[in-house]
Symmetry: C2
Subunit: 445 residues, 2 copies
């Protein structure tokens, strides 16, 4: 059987009992992390702009623009919530492909859960399948696909959204193959936009288009049934290298959500071990910014390539500036959204400390690792080796840390009792009779 | 100045007086052709399916789903009308790039013309600019871009829709650059879907997304200002070969709409010279299907490559079957939508005559040319050389032929007085105070 057909069949045939409890739990954690990022992300100019446009043209008020007081039709809700979830660069990361799996998928099925009854178990089942499909398609074409310039979060994510929505709509095998064909023909998103709001559009776009693909397929709107493997299909056209075996090998025994990760800091993931080291010195050893003579880092090459910008001029660029992150770690002793404002990246004290950061690439250093030497004004030299950053696969955020992150992101937006209830819902989601209550509770009244 | 910025500036600075009358007239003809195709195309399963989905989720009833009794918000109207305009493979063709220029652009600005006042002159101005931008971007990346598998109609068309809508919204230079950046990051559409309804989705998708790009840009939603030329921009990522000079060379003196063409028959354009020759024999020389012993064709290689399918099983495949088109030309003595039903491609008489067609590729034959030898049962041999097919650049449809095509497409859908009025509006469009009246008149009451 052909690949796309076989993948469609696997999704259609998948049963809740086929999903191991570890997978269910990790999908639950992914959703919890996504929900907090999305609620927090509503207070960003890009989210507000997208919401205003959606409100002007929305259809029936079927679903919640979460973290706001607005209701939208399910397609606009998926679009807006997809955008909000990505604005802080705080969402989940499938490290192998650099895909952020939840932002294109969760908004689509959460909106659907306000349109028709979806139990918590069905939701987590569809969500896990969506992540599985998106990340496996990503595995098949990355890194070549990403390297040439595709933002794999949306190009692979649109397939994930389509199958997750399609699973909840109860598509048959033929329709599921169409849904994949219609998803692939809408795959888009260029990394050229990564330092702009254009980037945030990508998961919203993928969530809405994946949903469109599934709804059209449900109505037997036809499409290629070979979108993944055909000579003019997704893998050949959007990547110069590919390994299509990745898409089905070990299906049902190996699960990609188990290698999903969650960030403790809202900035480039390769900076996380460095921030860990800096916060250790600042908080645990009481080193003040004024004590620092220089900060010498031995880093993975990605730190230099992705975050080498020395003097960012706008807040968002601080998220991909190693020197800025070091500086605010010492000065503010925390790395949250407030550390990436325009004012913070231009602050003279921050800029001065940034200039004391020296970065050396070391081929022996992994992406979640750093060796740091701190030279103090009094001549002391302190060293620290972070082997695995907080939030990495080897040092994942605990449930308590995820909850703390969630509460921090929601604190200024929802009432305490709403936050408590959402924590409870996200903890017990697989037992909930419906997920509508989650979206409703995440609305600003 | 960088390319994308300069293109944005050209569009913003363009004045109606800069558009020569020949260009205005050809843009008018393109729109007239598009309008007929779209009205006729509403009676297709794909259009009906898309419309049903749009009706279920539409926002404010701002714009007409033309050829129907439904009103939709402007984004859904652009989407549905974009799909309807493409379902018959009867729309316009920019032969160099194989882009169908109008379907992604006209639906977006016609919908906009029902949302805010747009004069006929402003409409044709924006439309000509949209076609110019889409086809020039196509010229820059085709044929490599098309050959690898991109459906250039939508991938280039989304830029055309964005600038046309952006022009009518009065975007400034910065915003127009953002609109291009947001359009490019939504560019999609795979040729793998060409024999499915997925193909028809492409121009609707491009129309809606180009409009989204312009509306977001108007609200200063930021994007890369180098989407065309950047290493990870559109031209590099979506094509293995490119010539970016095509985008601005001769701007304002050379116009791509002047090389736009319109089809007399709703099928693959490379079949048109062959149909011309067959209809000549059938109609002018009175040759009956029963007289035909064999039909020998010397053709351009594209005929074999694109339309070589011998025994299509579904109607739509007949549009890309040379043998089917020869057979129905003799049997039905016309080539309209009725010749491409499932029943027609499976008709035993059609199949029998199809088997008498012999195709030989001749490297000396152009794409709009054919040499035909007709062998009759009585032993006679008739030959015909069509140098330039009807509808080709050298033998364009006359205004009268365009009108006949328009009237035929609308005949079963609109009332005679509606059709008369639309013909009048499309003839005098540059003098109309608004284009809203066109859309309103194209509604089924």
């Amino acid at each position: 059987m052909e690949l796309t057909r076989e993948l469609a069949n696997k999704v259609v045939e998948s049963k809740w009992a086929d999903i191991p409890s570890s997978v269910r739990n990790e999908a639950r954690r992914s959703f919890f992390n996504w929900l907090g990022c999305t609620i927090g992300g509503t207070r960003h100019e890009a989210s507000e702009t997208a919401l205003a446009l959606a409100c002007a043209f929305t259809g029936p008020r079927q679903a919640t623009a979460i973290g706001t007081s607005h209701r939208l039709d399910i397609f606009h809700a998926a679009w807006v919530n997809g955008i909000s979830s990505h604005v802080f660069d705080f969402d989940d990361t499938h490290l192998r492909t650099v895909i952020h799996p939840s932002p294109p998928i969760a908004p689509a099925i959460l909106a659907l859960g306000e349109y028709r009854p979806v139990s918590g178990a069905d939701f987590i089942h569809a969500f896990a399948l969506g992540i599985e499909v998106a990340c496996r398609i990503g595995n098949a074409v990355c890194p070549a696909h990403y390297n040439i310039g595709w933002h794999s979060t949306s190009t692979a994510g649109v397939f994930g959204a389509a199958v997750a929505v399609g699973k909840l709509l109860g598509l048959d095998q033929q329709q599921m193959a169409y849904a994949l064909g219609l998803a692939g023909t809408q795959a888009s998103g260029l990394r050229e936009n990564l330092n702009t709001m254009g980037k945030f559009l990508h998961p919203g776009h993928a969530a809405r288009d994946g949903m469109t693909a599934a709804f059209l397929a449900q109505r037997n709107f036809t499409a290629s049934e070979r979108i993944l493997e055909a000579p003019r299909g997704f893998a050949n056209v959007l990547s110069q290298e590919r390994n299509l075996d990745e898409i089905l090998d070990g299906w049902g025994s190996r699960f990609e959500v188990l290698v999903n990760t969650y960030k403790p800091y809202p900035c480039g993931v390769v900076l996380h071990p460095i921030i860990d080291a800096c916060l250790h010195f600042a908080r645990e050893e009481g080193i003040a910014a004024a004590d620092v003579e220089s900060v010498r880092l031995q880093v993975n090459f990605l730190v230099q390539e992705v975050t080498g910008k020395r003097h960012p001029q706008v807040g968002v660029d601080g998220k991909f500036s190693v020197s800025h992150c070091v500086a605010v770690s010492f000065i503010d002793r925390r790395v949250e959204e407030d550390q990436f404002t325009d004012g913070r990246v231009l602050d003279p004290q921050v800029v001065a400390l940034s200039d004391k950061v020296v970065v050396a690439v070391d081929p022996g250093i992994a992406a979640d690792e750093v060796r740091m030497e701190l030279v103090l004004r009094d001549g002391r030299r302190l060293t620290r080796h972070v082997e695995h950053a907080l939030g990495s696969l080897k040092q994942p955020l605990t449930d308590a840390q995820l909850e703390e992150k969630f509460r921090r992101l929601c604190a200024d937006i929802l009432k305490p009792q709403q936050i408590d209830r959402l924590v409870e819902y996200c903890t017990t989601i697989v037992e909930l009779p419906d997920v509508e209550r989650i979206a409703r509770t995440a609305a600003v009244s």
